[in-house]
C-alpha cells in the first residue's frame, strides 16, 4: 500500500508516455500520429509537476501576508510546465496545417501509400 501511495502519479505519467510512443511508432494514419504526439506531451507535463510535490503541501500563493511558508510546493516546475503547454498547442497547430497540405497534394493520408508514391 505504501508503494502505491508513493508512486501512483509516476505510474500514470509513465503509462501515458508509453501509450504515446506506441501510437507514434505503429499507426499509419497521419492524424492518429499527431494525436499520439499530444498524448506524449501531456504525459511529460504530468511527470514534471509530480516531481515537485511535497507531501501534504499547499499551493505557492500568499493569499494573506503572513501565511506559514514552510510546506509550500516547489514553484519552479510549475513555471516550466506553463510554458510547455502553450508551446505544445502551437506545435500541434503547425503539424495539422502541414497534414492538410499533404492531403491536398497526394489525395490520401496513409503513410505507406505516400511512401510508395514517391519512388
Amino acid at each position: 500500500m505504501s508503494f502505491l501511495d508513493n508512486y501512483i502519479y509516476y505510474i500514470g505519467a509513465f503509462g501515458l508516455i508509453l501509450i504515446g510512443f506506441y501510437i507514434i511508432l505503429v499507426k499509419h494514419n497521419l492524424i492518429k500520429v499527431i494525436i499520439g504526439l499530444g498524448i506524449l506531451d501531456t504525459g511529460v507535463n504530468l511527470f514534471l509537476i509530480s516531481v515537485g510535490y511535497i507531501t501534504k503541501g499547499t499551493a505557492p500563493i500568499f493569499s494573506k501576508p503572513g501565511i506559514d511558508s514552510e510546506r509550500m510546493v516547489d514553484p519552479v516546475p510549475q513555471a516550466l510546465v506553463l510554458t510547455a503547454i502553450v508551446i505544445g498547442v502551437a506545435v500541434l497547430a503547425l503539424a495539422l496545417s502541414l497534414a492538410i497540405r499533404l492531403y491536398q497534394h497526394y489525395g490520401t493520408l496513409n503513410l505507406r501509400k505516400i511512401r510508395e508514391q514517391r519512388w
Binding site: Y22, Q78, V89, I100
Partner: protein, 79 residues
C-alpha cells in the same frame, strides 16, 4: 484521498488506450480531450492551480477545435 487519485489515474489510462483503438478519428480526438481533462484534475490534486487552469482551457477546448477543423478538411475514417 489516495483512492481518488488511483481511480482517476486508471480512468486516464483507459481513455488513452481508447484513443489508440478507435477507427473514427473524431472519437479518438474526444478520447484525447478526456485524457487532458483528467490530467487537469490531477494537476489540481498536486496543488498547482495555475497549471490546472492552463491545461483545462488549452487542452480540452482549443486542441479539440483545431483537430476537428483539420479533420473536416481531410478524411474522417482511418483506412
Amino acid at each position: 484521498m489516495i483512492f481518488v487519485a488511483s481511480f482517476l489515474v486508471v480512468l486516464m489510462l483507459v481513455g488513452a488506450v481508447a484513443a489508440s483503438i478507435f477507427r473514427d478519428l473524431i472519437s479518438a480526438v474526444i478520447a484525447a480531450a478526456f485524457v487532458s481533462l483528467v490530467a487537469a484534475i490531477l494537476f489540481y490534486l498536486l496543488q498547482a492551480p495555475d497549471v490546472a487552469m492552463a491545461e483545462a482551457a488549452i487542452g480540452a477546448a482549443l486542441t479539440v477545435a483545431i483537430f476537428i477543423i483539420a479533420i473536416r478538411r481531410t478524411k474522417r475514417y482511418e483506412e
